[in-house]
């Protein structure tokens, strides 16, 4: 069973703060992590490999520092990793990203053979589009199942799973190859062990640029992105919390004034 898992680097905290001047994320020395949904996808891949044999390749598109999260995936048990990194890939929307990821997967397939399974997290917690999985499947020309929340059966030829569909569970059987996007909490992602962490330092990690994957530059990065981000802004909150002090009767007086709009 050959499995590819797409992972994305995202900010480590749910409480992301934005710089009000530059409208960019304040990283403040905090490290990025594997997108939490992608960790469930990786864990699923590792469990399938343990059951059926085969190999797991993790793929990401990003800046060179993304290598760190790929090493993290390798330390958990992935066999090799591919990082697609090139200035030409910068500023990509979901269409250009899925195009680039598909080129990376195709290039790996030239050496390893066709993937039976491609797994993605349901969505990235920083973008929330949930578009990469389905778009990548289209680029690869394979079927896809989104929001998978339980794998019921799997063999070398097919799988049966449950997906979440408009609040209901839908049971789906599909022939491989297939792309699945994986919901959260379908498993408990493992922590790496010392052996894995040390192995990951020298494990196969391929760094490929646009030329390596023979990319059509018109379809990559900002140039290849029909979605243009015109402006980002930090939502302004106008809620204010006032703490009333004093005795209950004093607080009630202040509260009355506030409710009447008198400051």
């Amino acid at each position: 069973m050959r499995i590819a898992v797409c992972v994305k680097q995202v900010p480590s905290s749910n409480e992301v703060r934005m710089d009000p001047v530059t409208n960019t994320i304040i990283r403040d020395g905090k490290q990025s992590v594997i997108n939490p949904y992608d960790r469930f996808a990786l864990e699923l891949a590792l469990q399938i490999k343990e059951r059926l044999g085969g190999s797991v390749v993790v793929v990401s598109m990003g800046i060179p520092a993304t290598a760190r999260i790929l090493k993290e995936a390798l330390s958990c048990g992935a066999d090799e990793a591919v990082l697609l990194s090139d200035r030409a890939f910068a500023g990509a929307d979901t269409l250009a990203t899925s195009y680039t990821l598909h080129l990376g997967i195709r290039k790996i397939e030239q050496r390893l053979g066709k993937f039976d399974l491609v797994l993605c997290g349901r969505m990235a917690i920083d973008g929330d589009t949930a578009q990469i999985g389905p778009e990548l499947a289209e680029q690869l020309g394979i079927p896809h199942i989104t929001d998978m929340e339980e794998l019921l059966e799997i063999s070398q030829e097919q799988l049966v799973c449950c997906r979440l569909a408009d609040g209901e569970r839908q049971r789906v059987a599909v022939q491989l190859p297939v792309l699945l996007t994986v919901n959260k909490d379908i498993n408990q992602p493992r922590l790496p062990n010392i052996e894995g962490v040390l192995w990951a330092e020298t494990a196969p990690l391929h760094l490929w640029n646009a030329i390596d994957v023979q990319a059509n530059l018109k379809r990559c990065g900002l140039t290849g992105s029909p979605t243009q981000v015109v402006r980002t802004q930090v939502p302004q909150r106008d809620q204010e919390c006032k703490i009333l002090l004093g005795s209950v009767s004093e607080q009630l007086k202040v509260l009355q004034h506030l409710l009447k709009g008198e400051d």
Binding site: S12, S13, E15, R17, D28, G29, K30, Q31, V33, P36, E72, S75, Q188, L191, P192, N193, I194, E195, G196, V197, L198, E201, L245, S247
Partner: protein
């Protein structure tokens, strides 16, 4: 005054208890919001001869916050960070009121976001420097992150990282303390130091406190038993760890340090306790960048396995395989990834050298994974508390008997063997975990009925005497409070207890504060 001092009623019953699972009684309660209100409360009690128990978040495990009658002065409403400064070493220092909650302080430091509406211009200007500086953090990390800074200072709290960063005392630069006399002590580190064992402290608005400090030698181990005293000591060190017996802290200046670039946590599993102990002894001698070495024995791991199945709240705990018999959690802090990897490799090599397997380890290298291992660590005491609460419903007399003793490094093997021998002899159920790097293991005796409880208490007292004979401390981090008063006497003897009492009387002439803490009172000791 009526709105400040409230008569005790059922709605306030929670102030009668703390996390030690002991409860007491009180006639009145106050929740002052300022030092001025604290002074008013103390004056009211002084004029009427009412005893006072000072409280923070009541997360203490030695019943120091449990009242023996009188008045409860609860500091939870004094919960603001009120200033910021930079000292001559370039360190940033935050002035905290005693009711500031540790988890909230840490969050505010991490996000560099404070309510500065009451801050001076100097503080605001200094905080601008904090904003521009590298990420900062406050190292003390007691298991209970809902503890207050005042409570932590009162009992000289510590936690897993004390192994490298030391206890709360090392992170306090200044204490402002209101005395029952109405006078105030306001002392910064370096401003008032003892001459040998004589200490003079200036009082505000005027006056001088002249103290003959106790003459005992403290054990050379992690220690939170009795007043901190040594030759030529700093006055701040006496106030920190005074267990609510000298005064009411109204301001505590907390020293920040730069946040480490890398924080990695590693749980290493071993077949048996013996291998784990050998691993600890080797690791602390050979591994650089180590800031914590924590242990979980087989019974603690089994409790977690059961709790994980019983309660959805624990379901995200990592599953511990059945053949894992003992766990050591090691934490590494560093600035170079290469050094961190070297240290990790060393931990792996040591694991294998004592008979473990470096595949039987969990490595956490990001905040989410570290939080998971922290949850694992905190789930152990939670699980035993739940267990004891269930048993207490059947037999109300019993409570958890959790040891808090430390010994010198060269006594680790001996003390572990003593615990196992004692448990086998008495036949009590137990779970042990704690700060094995500091030779400070919390052995939790889990009695099922009154008979087992009585036998457990006797065993604990026996252990305390043996620990003192090994040169150890009977209270390493929870303080003496009310639960270990007899053990303090075993440790120092009556003469030194009286020397401590003389210090207390100098601060608190009517002995109104913290009755039952450190010193015995009529009515007996808490369990």
């Amino acid at each position: 005054m009526e709105s400040l001092i409230r008569t005790m009623d059922d709605s306030l019953a929670e102030v009668l208890r703390d996390e030690s699972r002991n409860s007491g009684r009180a006639e009145s309660v106050s929740f002052p919001r300022s030092e001025e209100e604290v002074l008013k409360v103390l004056a009211y009690c002084r004029s009427r001869g009412i005893s006072i128990t000072v409280q923070g978040a009541r997360t203490g495990l030695a019943a120091a916050a449990v009242p023996y009658g009188g008045h409860v002065l609860n500091c939870s409403k004094m919960n603001q960070v009120i200033g910021c400064r930079q000292d001559e070493h370039g360190r940033f220092i935050l002035t905290c009121q005693p009711g500031v909650i540790l988890s909230e302080l840490k969050k505010a430091i991490d996000s560099k976001s404070f309510d500065m509406s009451l801050w001076s211009d100097e503080s605001k200007a200094c905080f601008e420097k904090v904003r521009k500086a590298e990420r900062q953090f406050f190292p003390p990390d007691p298991t209970e992150a809902s503890a207050t800074i005042g409570g932590m200072a009162a009992c000289n709290a510590s936690g897993a990282r004390t192994f490298a960063y030391k206890s709360m005392r090392a992170h306090v630069d200044r204490v402002r303390m209101v005395l029952t006399t109405g006078k105030v002590v306001d002392v910064r580190r370096g401003q008032a130091t003892a001459q040998g064992r004589s200490l003079e402290l200036s009082l505000l608005p005027e006056g001088l406190l002249q103290l003959d400090l106790p003459t005992y030698q403290m054990p050379l181990t992690k220690n939170a038993a009795g007043y901190y005293v040594e030759d030529d000591m700093d006055a701040v060190d006496l106030l920190v760890g005074s267990d609510g017996t000298l005064g009411v802290m109204t301001e505590i200046d907390c020293i920040l340090v730069p946040h480490p670039t890398f924080i990695w946590g590693v749980s290493c599993f071993f077949p048996r306790e013996q291998e784990a102990v050998e691993f600890v002894i080797a690791a602390r001698a050979q591994v650089a960048d180590l800031v914590a070495l924590e242990s979980f024995d087989g019974n603690a791991l089994q409790l977690l396995r059961e709790q994980r199945l019983m309660s959805s709240a624990f379901s995200r705990l990592p599953q511990v395989p059945e053949d894992y018999g003992y766990c050591i959690y090691a934490e590494l802090h560093g600035s170079e990834e290469g050094c961190m990897l070297e240290a990790l490799k060393k931990l792996g090599d040591l694991t294998e050298s004592v008979g473990g397997d470096r595949k039987h380890t969990w490595v956490a290298r990001n905040e989410a994974d570290l939080a998971l291992l922290q949850f694992f660590r905190h789930a152990v005491p939670e699980s035993t508390n739940l267990l004891i609460d269930r048993r207490k419903q059947v037999c109300p007399v019993i409570t958890k008997l959790s040891t808090d003793m430390s010994v010198p490094d060269d006594k680790l093997r001996e003390v572990v063997a003593m615990y196992r021998r004692g448990l086998a002899e008495v036949g009590l159920e137990s779970a042990a975990w704690g700060h094995i790097g500091n030779n400070h293991i919390h052995v939790n005796l889990l009695p099922r009925d009154e008979d087992e409880f009585v036998r457990g208490k006797a065993l604990y007292q026996r252990w305390a005497e043996a620990v003192v004979a090994m040169g150890g401390a009977v209270a390493a981090e929870h303080g003496i409070g009310k639960t270990k008063v007899a053990m303090l006497k075993s440790m120092y003897g009556e003469k030194h207890i009286q020397e401590m009492r003389a210090v207390k009387v100098a601060f608190d002439p009517l002995q109104l504060l913290g009755q039952g803490n450190l010193f015995p009172v009529e009515g007996g000791e808490q369990q």
